[in-house]
């Protein structure tokens, strides 16, 4: 009797430990590569921390400097926000249009799907080299094609007004991932819904507005959040395509932080910059989520609840 009980106890103890053994790799990685560095970077933001020599505690001076004494901070922030404001809606619109196109039941549509997605698997390094050459104002093929159409192309990468546009065009090249997310969602809408609407006399545009859009609002929400976060952190393209120039017109926030850390070696200041962006991203994400109850379609919520209930049963 006693041994049996003991065995049972041992068994439940093992059962209790087992799940932690499975998730142990992530717990270690989380502490060593995420939580530790995150906390340390917050501490560093309160120090004057040169790359060599003694770090000095300076309280909130880095933040005060950032907000009151560094015009580049505001410039970089506003350029980045401007980029996000152009890039996010444009990217969403293009992704949605492409997704609608590739759901059309016409011959060869899969080939187009592959073509539209292809640039999304290409490295930012290759993207910037290829587009840099397309945009080249002397030998670039883009301005040549424009000249054939009777348009005089701008000095894309040399003109401060146009440099940000080149970044938008080059980064929109990778819209394929978002397109696929919309695509699978739109394809999942049952055909009967459209048929019923057609019987009621709704045309294609009416069907799109009353059926497609409301059904995919949760996906739109997901895409808005991920692309806002991506836009605010854009770095590879500005490093390689424009280097932040001309005249710092593409000196994005990511580049600002990167240069403060690895070029000017102000590690404490760069940490303060990075934390500021982290908080902005958190607030924006929360804001978008909060607003979602107003425009994300209710039925998705019903579905979700059902799913969760199902999940609960399995437990």
């Amino acid at each position: 009797m006693f041994t049996k009980k003991n065995k049972q106890k041992k068994f439940t103890l093992v059962r209790k430990r087992v799940p932690f053994l499975f998730i142990l790799p992530w717990i270690i990685g989380f502490i060593v590569f995420t939580l530790g560095p995150l906390a340390f970077s917050l501490i560093m933001s309160l120090f004057d921390w040169p790359i060599a020599g003694e770090a000095k505690f300076i309280g909130f001076d880095n933040f005060i400097k950032m907000f009151t004494a560094d015009p580049q901070f505001y410039d970089s922030l506003s350029i980045t926000l401007k980029f996000a404001l152009i890039f996010v809606p444009l990217n969403l619109l293009v992704a949605l249009v492409l997704a609608l196109l590739i759901t059309q039941p016409i011959k060869g549509i899969k080939i187009f799907r592959t073509i539209f997605y292809l640039p999304a698997v290409v490295s930012g390094v290759a993207v910037s080299i290829i587009w840099g050459w397309m945009f080249n104002s002397e030998y670039g093929v883009l301005n040549y094609i424009l000249s054939l159409l009777g348009i005089e192309g701008p000095n894309w990468l040399i003109d401060p007004k146009w440099a940000i546009v080149t970044i938008v065009i080059a980064s929109a090249w990778g819209v394929g991932t978002m397109m696929l997310i919309f695509y699978t969602d739109i394809k999942g809408i049952p055909n009967e819904m459209y048929e019923a609407a057609a019987i009621d006399g709704a045309g294609p545009i009416r069907q799109f507005i009353s059926i497609t859009i409301p059904t995919i609002t949760p996906t739109i929400l997901f895409n808005v959040i991920t692309s806002v976060i991506a836009a605010l952190q854009q770095l590879t393209l500005v490093l390689l395509l424009t280097g932040g120039g001309p005249l710092k017109s593409t000196y994005f926030y990511g580049l600002f932080v990167y240069n403060n850390a690895f070029k000017h070696h102000e590690l404490g200041y760069a940490s303060a910059n990075a934390w500021f962006m982290f908080i902005i991203i958190l607030l924006l994400t929360m804001l978008i989520f909060k607003s979602s109850s107003a425009w994300v379609f209710y039925e998705a919520e019903v579905k979700k609840e059902k799913k969760e209930k199902k999940g609960g049963k399995r437990k």
Binding site: R15, K16, P19, L21, F22, I23, P25, W26, I27, G29, F30, F33, T34, P37, L38, F40, S41, M44, L98, L101, Q104, I106, T114, Y117, P119, V121, V122, S123, G124, V125, A126, I129, I130, W131, W133, M134, Y139, Y144, W173, T177, I181, T184, D185, T219, F222, I229, L232, Q233, T236, L239, G254, Y258, A261, A270, N273, A274, F278, I281, L282, R314
Partner: protein
């Protein structure tokens, strides 16, 4: 629905127009890579080189240690993929198939790490790897993969949640231990989502530029992305070899994508549901 000719014509026109934007830069890169020096800098630009110089590719490959870069990229890509497959399947299994204390809290933590901007942890991570003596080695690019990544774990967990509980209970009655259940029963049925995360990881790691940029100093340690970027920085006017190597660099992810297109198209939708 009836398809009129006019409708079809308009559809194909729009599709072709968009295709130009997505495809033409690749074609132009290939045309450039095959041109002679004279042709590249002629105006108006030539759309078909007189004699396509395929030797440009060999010349470009040999002008820099691209063989070494390629090998380094391969090492990092293969090892991180192995690391992700092992760690993510274990962790996702733990989260999906067991009940334990603080499970929901831990899972929320896991999801929230996806929102942390890269530059917040960039500096401390650099210092940490420096302390380990890992700077200018491939280790900072490889080792973290063995501790999982939030997005991959999330993907696998979503898949595992949909499998009925009877499966492991039956195996337990038969006397299998917990690890055997994972290894012998669950791992084989995870083939599709594991393929997806392998493909996503290969594309991500092969293309990564910022990681190598920060952690590697010596040319002998460079990956393709970093080697190509530094090549471009130094030889801005040598557009022919740069284009040739750019095309070489994008071949591996394109091949992987071609073979795994099905998994990507299906998998991406699963990730948000």
């Amino acid at each position: 629905m009836k398809m009129t000719r006019k409708y079809k014509f308009i559809m194909y026109s729009i599709l072709v127009l968009f295709s130009l934007y997505f495809l033409f830069p690749f074609i132009w890169a290939l045309i450039t890579a095959l041109k002679s020096e004279m042709e590249v800098f002629s105006f108006p630009p030539k759309f078909i080189p007189d004699i396509p110089l395929f030797s440009n590719f060999m010349d470009a490959w040999n002008s820099q240690p691209f063989g070494t870069y390629f090998k380094n990229s391969m090492i990092v890509t293969v090892l991180t993929t192995i690391g992700q497959l092992i760690s993510c399947s274990l962790v996702a299994y733990g989260f999906a198939r067991y009940e334990f204390k603080y499970k929901n809290l831990l899972f929320m933590l896991l999801l929230s790490t996806m929102m942390i901007p890269w530059d917040v942890t960039m500096i401390p991570l650099y210092m940490e790897f420096n302390m380990f003596g890992w700077i200018n080695t491939l280790k900072p690019l490889i080792v973290p993969a063995f501790f999982g990544s939030a997005y991959n774990i999330f993907l696998l967990r979503q898949f595992l949640m949909n499998i009925p509980k009877d499966l492991e209970n039956a195996a337990r009655i038969d006397g299998a231990n917990e690890f055997q259940i994972f290894y012998k029963i669950f791992l084989p049925i995870m083939k599709a989502p594991l393929t997806l995360i392998a493909v996503l990881n290969i594309i991500l790691v092969w293309n990564d530029y910022l990681g190598p940029l920060i952690y590697l100093n010596d040319q002998s340690k460079y990956t393709m992305a970093l080697g190509l970027a530094s090549f471009q920085g130094v030889h801005e006017l040598q557009i022919i070899p740069i284009m040739a190597m750019t095309l070489v660099m994008i071949i591996p992810p394109v091949i992987v994508f071609a073979f795994a297109q099905k998994y990507i198209v299906e998998g991406i939708s699963g990730s948000i549901k």
